[in-house]
Amino acid sequence: MRDDPRLPTSSHFWRSPLRGTWFTAVLGLVLLGGISVLFVTGLVSYAAYNPDLSPVNDTTPDKGVLGFYLFDWPAGPSWLYRLSQGVHVTLGVVLVPVLLAKLWSVVPKLFTLPPARSVAHALERVSLLLLVGGALFQFVTGLLNIQLEYVFPGSFYPLHFYGAWVFIAAFVVHAALRAPTAVRAVRARRRDEAELEAPRPAPPTVSRRGALWLVGGGSLLLFVTTVGQSLGGPLRRTALLAPHGGADPGGGPNGFQINKTARYAGITAADTHPDAWRLVLTGPAGTVRLSRAELLRMPQHSSSLPIACVEGWSTADQWWRGVRLRDLAALAGYEGGPPDVLVESLQRHGAFRRAALRANQVSDPRSLLALYVNGEELSPDHGYPARIIVPAAPGVHNTKWVGRLTFGDL
């Protein structure tokens, strides 16, 4: 085939004077660090759901060895999930310009001919499709999910989890093959690989350093308009574009951020009316039914805990008041060490209307069936008549509108 400069398969088609090994290497090394953190915090978030405790927690029952690292999720420090998931989501948003710039810097290689020089080269190009497709798939599904735009083909959890493994397989090979070159290029500013540089560059309108500053500026702008949703307090107002930035949904003690409102979850006033609602406790002592008034006559305890969502946003500590889960376990017949518990909401649908908590979470003195928050009765949107609050658990495991607690080893 003739080398026609009008075709992207010709190196003469690509004119930008910015492309070059150093430019790609800097972006690549930033992504190497950033994506490693994204992957680890992602695995941590997966473990936080305790998927191996009970099928109701497990959105990926056929994970096989991919769950090899799972551990009992700890019940503290209380800010653990808030921090790890805040980092995961904020960093993911902030890395978007770096990813785009990196892909731009290497796009001529997509069109290189011949398609393969050797078997290894052919396989590497297949792997690069998985790398690029995987990176975009992970970023796009993540960004759509935090904006509640559920257009992806399936449930977010398995897609993002298995997608991460497909992507990371390609990512590790790419890093192993390219990182040495990248480190050399950045250390020595050497240009021993001219393959990315335009042979006939157009006159520059910005330096390579200037272009990196623009990428960094893009990341900084995304950071300052996002991170406030994970910091809470007055800083939430700085998160101008983040889904849970800006103002709180309401004022007063119940004014903090809501994941799913009562209306969205299909909870009606009739469901939670004092005459109708009873908490059903099940355990070795049989089944106990408690009204809200009876729960209020039990010893009341307080704990200051945040709500931290898988979507990355969180609230500052709220002051919860209610009955300790371990006291309820004792009432159900577990006087000694509390067991695991299956929590069921009044919600009739929704992936998280049931959640299992592990014994270490149930026995923590800060774990409550909360009846009050910040000195006031829970509002319907925050789970009236009663909700779970457990330190360091993902938001959706702090089940709202609790109807039934089944204690026992799951």
Binding site: V132, L136, Q147, P153, P158, A169, G218, K260
Partner: protein, 151 residues
């Protein structure tokens, strides 16, 4: 006479080993990734790469070329920087800004989805306004510098 033997070039054996190892993990996770709507997932995976490489990248490259053709080289950055930053925030937050999930967002979170478009427009206005201000200041400095005797 011996017939010439056709040999497939293999390439680096270490690279081959790494890649085969990677494909094994890809296959293991991929089977699970594709266990539901496999066609949809394949379309998303490959489609994301194609859409980026063949639509998004050529589109913003063309916009940049048009910008460079339309402005003097010295002024290009004053449009390019705010345009990149504004475009980037739109790209990341387009479901919220364009209100694609507005109804679900409103009913789920109790928050107002209409604020995002306004905020994005405001951010865009500040970016372009700030850039225009810098440009005006630079022009004035340049004028003063060139003709100090005017005043």
């Amino acid at each position: 006479m011996r017939l010439p033997t056709f040999r497939v070039p293999l390439g680096s054996p270490l690279q081959l080993l790494l890649l085969v190892c990677s494909f094994a993990l890809v296959a293991y996770a991929g089977v699970r990734l594709l266990s539901g709507d496999w066609l949809g997932v394949v379309l998303w995976f490959v489609g994301a790469a194609l859409l980026h490489d063949l639509v998004l990248l050529p589109l913003y490259s063309a916009l940049d070329r048009a910008l460079r053709a339309g402005t003097a080289a010295r002024w290009t950055l004053y449009v390019r920087v705010p345009a990149v930053l504004s475009g980037l925030t739109l790209l990341v937050w387009c479901p919220l800004i364009l209100g694609l999930s507005a109804d679900r967002y409103r009913s789920a979170t109790g928050l107002d989805p209409d604020v995002f478009l306004l905020r994005w427009l405001l951010i865009t206005a500040v970016l372009f306004g700030g850039s225009a201000l810098l440009l005006v200041l630079r022009l004035r400095r340049a004028t003063k510098h060139r003709s100090p005797s005017v005043h």
